[in-house]
Symmetry: C2
Subunit: 371 residues, 2 copies
């Protein structure tokens, strides 16, 4: 905040609010704001009256740092950002330099219009999107432990998914089994809900990464992608595997082998001090000259997530991202490749160690064939 | 659109996009826009290149009505709304009157800034938030059937929840069982993911409606609220019950009886032609003179939902909402009441019939006591 000249930072991304305050509830469909100032030793959580208990149960803030707007501000002409301006005014910060996350998912155009209309002349609004996200990149030992426990849950849910999915099985029943595993957890740790529901495209649907499930049955011969994340204390360890419900086409076998080689080359390139783009380059050089092509990024920093995404919103493993890797950064490396009528995704979450990469989950890295 | 003088409508709410086009994928964490114009017989879906298959598999649009922006627009200086302006320009609509959902969850302040900066002088931007939401209020027979099938799933998941939750049971294991039921479904229909994960506060956490679960165990004597929704084809039929894991305090029994009386009075007041606020009045009059107080709305129109909410964003059952009820509107009536150290929520989803209300799920309407 000092570097950016901000007098106050208004955080609205639920993951950033959680990171700074501990606030954890499924209440982000109404405006929630965490105000960080220089002169307070706690941030101020501003939310809906009926969510007071959520703040009390989940944050480390004392009662004076929890401010509540009434339901008069919900779905109304009044907007909670006007309530925020009134508070800034009381704190003599309304005409200062105010950082706002302009591109946070739940910070709508209307919220920002209400906010700027209520601000006095003299106020300066600065875009602080991702300021907190970048602070979240390097994890503490406690956060790493959450990722490791989450990865154990990912492992178990993936095993259950692989075991359950097969010809004649309804996709919704596979979703049921996978969710049961995600939440009952592993090694005594229960699981939290993921920011993205398990993605389970099948058949031609594997040509795209974002389809969920239906209540139709899997068919013999078709490819199935399963992308899921175990979650502990909101920390995600995503994992993806691709299977064929029968003999895969030779081309798919070849592509999977290339993807695995590329993924492993990229993992081998990971160490503190190298750039994110150099890791992508290792992938690109490994797959050069094969049928596999990939334009989009092959990975991203992950950690805390709320719907709609577990992408941290900081580093991407792609050309142009010159962020240097540091120990205890955590990434999901997912070089998904989509052909015309199917796709293959094989991914790993890993943390950067002192001298390399520690892959978090231990599931065979292969194209899975289920007869 | 004609009433509002709109030359083009840009829809960004995933539920509205689904309603108009059928597009259904967990890809709404990147900008997606459905452009509705007067001269085309199909809307135009605009999204990320890698989501082409999702559009092909789930929409009724032909290939020419699916436009793709490249990954150069993802997490970049370029913004997909600039791509949209280029298309509007080609269609000679960029200097027209453009409706935008300024308060849609995923239409961020930054998206709108990129959009307006790219528009030519002469363009007029109108707030079209909720224009489509209000069109969704009255359901077709097919949509009602989805609600009914979803309610059967809600029933089963609630039964499983009530059966599973008890002293010494880990909350995450109850979440696992409830999800298993939500997705394996009922009566041969599998379930889709809900826009809000099951909310399962326990103990003092019941004082707020939006807590999820942890991996701690339920304790004897404590209250537990379970709010969940079965979902079929994205249509939600939410349902809530409150239980005590032991003898409830007499005050809680009395409050539950008042809430049930109030809920039933409100249901009795439902018929075509009455206003939403008059239904709330029936509740308010019924509970007058008791210890139960309720300031916020007691219900809302529901239907299609994507995270973060299954609230339709049209009618609310609260003072001031003079919308007249019409047959085949569907509501979730949830007069949640929160005291200092616990809360009670008992809810029903219902549809408006020709002469009253049809409650969708059939679960005993009572304060549940589990020893």
């Amino acid at each position: 905040m000092r570097d950016r000249g901000l007098d106050v930072l208004l955080v609205t991304d639920p993951a950033n609010i959680y990171y700074l305050s501990g606030y954890d509830a499924y209440s982000f469909y109404v405006p929630q704001i965490l105000a960080v100032t220089h002169d307070r030793d706690q941030p101020v959580w501003i939310g809906r009256e009926q969510d007071l208990t959520c703040a009390r149960e989940t944050t480390w803030l004392d009662r004076e740092h929890v401010l509540l707007y009434s339901d008069d501000y919900v779905d109304s002409e009044l907007h909670p950002m006007e309530f925020v301006v009134d508070r800034l005014d009381e704190w003599e910060l309304a005409d200062g330099t105010i950082g706002v996350e302009l591109d946070a998912d739940y910070y709508t155009a209307r919220a920002h219009q209400a906010f700027t209309a209520a601000l006095p002349t003299g106020a300066a609004v600065e875009d602080a999107t991702k300021l907190v996200n970048y602070c979240r990149m390097v994890k503490s030992e406690a956060e790493i432990e959450y990722h490791q426990r989450a990865a154990a849950i990912s492992e178990r849910a993936m095993e259950v998914g692989i075991e359950t999915i097969g010809p004649g099985v309804r996709k919704c029943d596979a979703a049921a089994a996978v969710h049961e595993a995600l939440y009952s957890g592993a090694d005594g740790t229960g699981g939290d809900y993921p920011a993205i529901v398990p993605l389970m495209p099948a058949g031609e649907g594997t040509g795209s990464p974002h389809l969920t499930w239906t209540d139709e049955e899997y068919e013999a011969g078709e490819p199935v992608i399963l992308e899921l994340a175990g979650v502990v204390n909101r920390y995600h360890s995503p994992l993806t595997r691709t299977m064929f419900l029968g003999e895969p086409p030779a081309e798919a076998e070849r592509a999977a082998a290339v993807i695995i080689d590329g993924l492993e080359a990229a993992l081998d390139a990971v160490e503190p001090g190298v750039t994110a783009e150099s890791v992508e380059r290792a992938w690109r050089e490994e797959i050069a000259g094969t049928t596999v092509e990939k334009e989009s990024r092959i990975g991203y920093s992950t950690g805390i997530g709320y719907p709609p995404s577990w992408v941290e919103g900081s580093v991407s493993i792609r050309p142009g991202d010159e962020t240097e890797l540091r120990p205890n950064m955590v990434f999901h490396m997912i070089p998904g490749v989509w052909f015309d009528d199917y796709g293959i995704e094989i991914s790993e979450s890993f943390r950067v160690t002192e001298d390399g990469a520690e892959v978090l989950a231990d599931v065979p890295r292969e194209l899975i064939v289920k007869e």
